[in-house]
């Protein structure tokens, strides 16, 4: 986020004289992020032969997609791994090709693990290149199939767009926003933090400049995919904390995205506090605990969660 701040300041207030310490910090993180981006570009290029040969489109997700397309959302954004999305039906083909070019699962997996990651999760466990130690996440869906929200990833593939410079695809702008919001608010306890929220702001501005009916089409897609809630949270937090402006004529529809029940209002407060207050004190740790519990509660139905955990505990005793 520091480097995103550097970029934002440099582009919006280029004449501001920075205090020497801030200039140091920006200089240091700027170089580090440039390295991370350089490395990610290289890793994407290493995957391009595979993407050409695979029997399915390979979609770059998140940071790697922004970077290769070269849009503003990649500015000041470091990335430690690459995420790709492929259709579930092509997993075996893609995995075989990845294995042939040196990608291995980062941890030893049991048969149950393999089945779990394919049928009950939306991504394979992290893979690592045997030589370069770079990490790759292979997704075959958006959210766990067991998640309360069940967006259809086939729709995402249909609307995805071919990139100019590399044989990869990216999600449509509105799907990029929904995907980012869904991950931020519905699965990872805000792990991507403020940076991911700011990505969403930049993606919205990008979409707004690219197509006239952008906001309506975003709304429409959220309804189609049942992702009203994460979009609501993203728009709520971005408007309150990052000065995102939704045009007057659609603002009403955004406000009506999902019923603001007591639970939703509570979550809004929780998110705002987590994004925009300093993470110290007892209230902050209570806040973290609540977010952690919430992320598990919405991920699987309770019985299934119990079965899964029991299985993990028992298999550990076997070894």
């Amino acid at each position: 986020m520091v480097d995103r701040l550097r970029y934002t300041l440099a582009s919006q207030a280029p004449d501001v004289a920075l205090p020497a310490v801030i200039a140091d910090v920006f200089d240091g993180t700027g170089r580090y992020v440039a390295y991370l981006q350089h490395r990610a570009r290289f890793e994407v290029s290493q995957l391009s032969a595979l993407a050409l040969a695979a029997d399915c489109p390979v979609v770059l997700l998140k940071g790697a997609a922004y970077l290769i397309e070269g849009i503003e959302a990649s500015a000041g954004r470091g990335l430690g791994d690459i995420d790709i999305l492929v259709p579930h039906a092509s997993l075996a083909d893609v995995e075989r090709r990845l294995a042939a070019s040196g990608w291995r699962f980062a941890e030893d997996l049991t048969e149950y693990d393999h089945a779990y990651y394919r049928d009950m999760a939306h991504e394979l466990p992290p893979m690592r290149h045997f030589d370069r130690q770079f990490e790759l996440d292979v997704h075959h869906g958006i959210l766990q199939p067991t998640h309360r929200l069940t967006p259809d990833s086939a729709r995402l593939m249909q609307e995805s767009v071919a990139l100019d410079t590399q044989p990869f695809f990216r999600l449509s702008r509105r799907d990029q926003i929904l995907h980012s919001a869904t991950h931020l608010f519905m699965s990872d306890e805000l792990r991507g933090g403020l940076r991911d929220l700011h990505d969403i702001v930049l993606l919205c501005r990008q979409g707004e400049a690219e197509e006239t009916a952008f906001w309506q089409r975003l709304l429409q897609r959220a309804v189609e995919q049942g992702l009203q809630r994460p979009l609501h949270y993203a728009m709520y937090c971005a408007q309150h904390g990052l000065a995102l402006v939704i045009p007057q004529h659609t603002r009403g529809e955004f406000t009506a995205l999902c019923p603001r029940t007591v639970g939703v209002r509570f979550a809004e407060r929780l998110f705002l506090r987590r994004f925009f207050s300093r993470p110290t004190g007892r209230l902050a740790s209570a806040c973290r605990t609540l977010l952690f519990l919430r992320s598990h509660w919405i991920r699987m139905p309770p019985l299934m969660l119990l079965r899964h955990l029991a299985r993990k505990v028992l298999s550990r005793n076997d070894r």
């Binding site: 205090p19 020497a20 140091d24 910090v25 200089d27 993180t29 580090y32 390295y35």
Partner: protein
């Protein structure tokens, strides 16, 4: 004002609410509620400048007793960087080595506007020497020995080559001696001030050499290097100096750098500039006194551009 101008009581009270200090080029906001830590710190860094409290800091760190019930049985200290604990707690009695290690961690992970070498840097008669070496090559021991003979301690752990100006910036800190080298230095350089003994740390027994006041007083005086010496301690080996070509010098410095990859062309250029000016050698040694004498002679004969090699850096 310096830390030594404050009484230990005053220092402890300032430290408990947090204060800004300058470690070489880095403004560090530090707070701690641990009394023994404050005592050791006060003694070690008496010559360190105290900055005003509203300074913007490069790092905000805190060394504190770990909360929780366990504290009554086996008290632990934790290191916080920007409010988060990047690594496991230490026994409370090891708070000082934990801080030293923690601040190194902060620098190594964020200060990429420097090319950071794993090296000791020393200066003598206006000429500077870089000793890059992997852990276990006797770098700290040799560094302490030279400081004991009156060399100015630039830094023990980091060779800080600023990319913007290509100059070495001092970072005089406590230099940790490990295991056998503790007694060696106590005997070789009795004038040095050594800190408390820490048994059974991750690196065995550790005793710190406190940075001399004269070195701390000059911690804004930058320089360029005149010689680059790769030291290697080999038991019972005769003292031997071999000249290295600049190309070999560069490749070996790269192996001893924390962040060469992150600095890209700027780092490469800085290193090329470094070996154009400084001569490169390998030093194999077992006897400290001989090694020190050889380094003295080597530095006097090295790197033609010695004049005007020092300059001042201003902190924020």
């Amino acid at each position: 004002m310096q830390i030594g101008d404050l009484s230990i009581r005053e220092f402890q009270s300032r430290l408990s609410t947090g204060m800004c200090l300058s470690f070489g080029p880095f403004c560090t906001r530090i707070s701690s509620d641990l009394e023994t830590f404050a005592e050791t710190f006060h003694q070690c860094y008496a010559g360190l400048p105290v900055l005003c409290d509203d300074q913007i800091a490069h790092f905000s760190v805190s060394v504190r007793q770990r909360p929780g019930l366990r504290g009554h049985l086996r008290p632990q200290a934790e290191f916080l960087f920007e409010g988060l604990a990047p690594f496991d707690p230490y026994p409370r009695s090891h708070a000082f080595p934990m801080f030293e290690w923690g601040l190194n961690w902060c620098i190594a992970n964020t200060a990429h506007h420097y090319l950071m070498l794993h090296a000791a840097v020393l200066e003598h008669h206006g000429r500077a020497l870089i000793l890059p070496a992997p852990p276990g090559s006797g770098k700290s021991t040799l560094c302490a020995a030279l400081v004991g003979r009156g060399w100015r301690l630039f830094s023990d752990e980091f060779g800080m080559l600023r990319l913007a100006d290509g100059r070495l910036h001092p970072l005089p800190r406590a230099a940790p001696l490990k295991n056998a080298s503790i007694e060696v230095i106590r005997e070789f350089a009795p004038t040095l001030t050594l800190g408390p003994r820490y048994e059974r740390t991750r690196k065995g027994t550790v005793v710190h050499v406190f940075p001399p006041l004269a070195s701390l007083a000059r911690q804004t005086e930058t320089c360029v290097a005149n010689a680059l010496v790769f030291p290697r301690y080999v038991a019972d080996a005769p003292t031997r100096v071999a000249s290295l070509s600049p190309v070999v010098g560069v490749t070996r410095v790269i192996k001893n750098s924390f962040n060469y990859l992150f600095t890209a062309e700027a780092g490469f250029d800085a290193l090329c500039q470094l070996v154009r000016r400084a001569d490169c050698y390998e030093l194999t040694y077992s006897r400290l006194d001989e090694a020190v004498d050889r380094l003295d002679a080597l530095l006097a004969a090295s790197g033609g551009l010695a004049q005007a090699a020092t300059g001042h850096a201003e902190l924020a």
